[in-house]
């Protein structure tokens, strides 16, 4: 047995002549959390939809736990749990009934299903809400219920498409902890997100996708070291870039919209230069995944 849980090779897909995926290749190791980042329309959702059988690929291969997606899609679907981008819980059923009907789709026998449902409801801390109708649950609870639903069949691989979009910080932190718990149990996770914070905190490796291709794929820390100097100063309130700053060595200057970004491994000198300019505000911080993301995908708006 290899330790690769999922492998996608050369995935291509076009919609009405427009190429959405131009050959996506990646592997997800067992117990790993793999992140896909990218601007809207980059091809993240298309990729994960191919993995869970909601979009047909034009070309390429997908193997999940050694099964070929073209040959044994039913088996693959029984090994995969999916948390979709849109909430598609059954509005007419209670939390528990949602899971019970879902267990049927996997042909689980009643006793196993009952035990498992109790387990997953406990795991996402919704046992007390088991008999509540869906519309009485908060956004965070619904997200957790979607996670519980995805876990009913004890998946080896969990696919999450922007799972924490629109959640408050408490719910988001709680959700992340649940995912970490699953990882410890050996579940492999594929997650797409717009939240760099989420990717940096959860993922062992991230792929930055743009225009249907993987631009870079590595550990978040390695990516930051590879693409960005250590620190950045974001400056607001200046028209042009002051000469004093431009003259400094080892400072990279980027300008976007109203903000000037000054990157460098040692930005103390930049601060001294800036202190001579009146009426500006600035923020000094360490570079993070967002800087890498913007460097690779550009700063222009996409839509």
């Amino acid at each position: 047995m290899s330790d690769v849980a999922l492998s996608a090779r050369g995935l291509t897909k076009s919609y009405n002549g427009i190429q959405a995926l131009k050959g996506i290749t990646f592997e997800v190791y067992r117990g790993e959390c793999f992140g896909m980042l990218g601007p809207n329309g980059a091809g993240k959702t298309t990729t994960v939809k191919i993995l869970c059988g909601l979009v047909r690929k034009d070309g390429g291969k997908v193997y999940v736990e050694g099964c070929d997606l073209d040959v044994d899609i039913r088996r693959i679907k029984s090994l995969v749990g999916v948390v979709p981008q849109d909430d598609n819980l059954d509005p007419d059923l209670s939390a528990k009934a949602n899971l019970e009907t879902y267990a049927r789709y996997f042909c689980m026998d009643k006793a196993t299903a009952k035990k498992r449902i109790d387990e997953v409801l406990g795991f996402v801390a919704l046992r007390e809400y088991a008999n509540r109708p869906i519309h009485t649950l908060s956004g965070g609870m619904r997200r957790r219920l979607l996670l519980a639903r995805a876990l009913v069949n004890q998946p080896k691989i969990l696919i999450l498409d922007e799972p924490t979009a629109g959640l408050d910080p408490q719910s988001r932190l709680a959700f992340w902890d649940l995912l970490r718990g699953l990882q410890r149990e050996g579940v492999s996770i594929v997650i797409t997100t717009h939240s760099m914070d989420e990717a940096q905190r959860l993922c062992a490796r991230v792929a930055i996708v743009d225009c249907g291709e993987i631009m870079v794929l590595d550990n978040p820390i390695t990516l930051i070291q590879r693409f960005c100097p250590k620190e950045v100063i974001e400056v607001r309130g200046i028209k042009g870039i002051p000469k004093e700053v431009l003259e400094l060595d080892g400072v990279k200057v980027e300008k976007a919209h109203e903000t000037v970004y000054l990157y460098g491994d040692d930005v103390d000198r930049v601060l001294i230069a800036l202190s001579k300019i009146p009426n500006i505000s600035y923020l000094r911080r360490q570079t993070n995944l967002e800087d890498v993301f913007l460097r690779i995908t550009g700063r222009e708006l996409r839509e």
């Binding site: 909601l54 679907k77 598609n88 059954d90």
Partner: protein, 276 residues
């Protein structure tokens, strides 16, 4: 356009065998179970809804027009007795088509239930068949309710009428499948107006429920005999009057094949729509 045809052909080939397997697949029943479980919440409301319209037709047309027609009735059958079996199957038709048009469309689009189901091991033919089966079950229960009513009115002349309950399932299967075909291509709810106005309403009026098809001009008779509801009415009337013949098996066969082919066709269209 050519590309679309090629796609549909590929899908049709790929889904032919799964469509047959889906008829008895546990995954199909899982989908039906889900729909019926939701329906249980609204059971009484929908059963009473089922009952209202046929009762109106029986009273207004059966007893009203029936009084004008007089004792000779239609070919010797009292008019209300003639009418009742047709009203029974038309109730089944309406129950099933509402379920797989408005009902299925709601599950497909606003609720995204189909998307939730399709990431599980359930495949598209099982999803389609499961949807049609739930229409069939509701239709069968509708048949039971109407049967009780017309029996209470003394309009049932044979114990064979009990078989109108399984007939209700069959009619629900056939018409549920037909409705699902339209759902598969419907851009929005208003599209179903075409389906009901151009297909279901004419069928209701021309399938021999209110008058025998044989009084129509010959060309219209040909059309009437193609309509699936005509077959259902013929079977239902024979059962309620107790006049069995081997020909009935042909009508049963037509309804089943119609239902199967429609389900298959709906699967092909849904597959293109839901799994691009």
């Amino acid at each position: 356009m050519n590309k679309v045809c090629r796609y549909l052909k590929n899908d049709a080939l790929a889904l032919a065998l799964p469509s047959i397997l889906a008829l008895l697949s546990p995954f199909t029943f899982a989908v039906t179970y889900r729909n019926l479980r939701v329906w249980r919440t609204y059971l009484w409301a929908s059963l009473i809804g089922n009952l209202g319209e046929p009762l109106l037709y029986l009273v207004a047309i059966g007893f009203g027009i029936g009084a004008l027609i007089g004792e000779n009735g239609i070919y010797g059958i009292p008019y209300d007795v003639f009418l009742a079996p047709g009203i029974l199957v038309s109730t089944c038709m309406y129950t099933a088509t509402f379920e797989t048009t408005f009902g299925s469309f709601t599950r497909m689009k606003p609720q995204k239930t189909f998307d939730a189901i399709l990431v599980t091991p359930v495949n598209i033919t099982e999803l389609a068949t499961g949807e049609v089966y739930s229409a069939a079950v509701k239709s069968g229960l509708g048949a039971l309710i109407v049967l009780l009513v017309i029996w209470a009115f003394g309009l049932v002349k044979s114990p064979l009428a009990i078989l109108t309950i399984p007939l209700g399932f069959l009619v629900g299967y056939a018409f549920g499948a037909l409705g699902l075909v339209f759902t598969a291509i419907a851009p929005d709810y208003s599209f179903f107006n075409y389906f009901f106005t151009l297909l279901i309403a004419p069928m209701f009026l021309l399938s021999g429920i209110f008058f025998p098809v044989s009084v129509l001009p010959e060309w219209a008779q040909t059309i009437a005999h193609i309509l699936p509801l005509t077959h259902a009415v013929t079977i239902s009337r024979s059962l309620c009057l107790g006049t069995l013949s081997q020909e009935l098996l042909v009508h049963v066969f037509v309804l089943f094949i119609g239902g199967f082919l429609s389900t298959f066709f709906a699967s092909v269209l849904l597959s293109r729509r839901l799994i691009p």
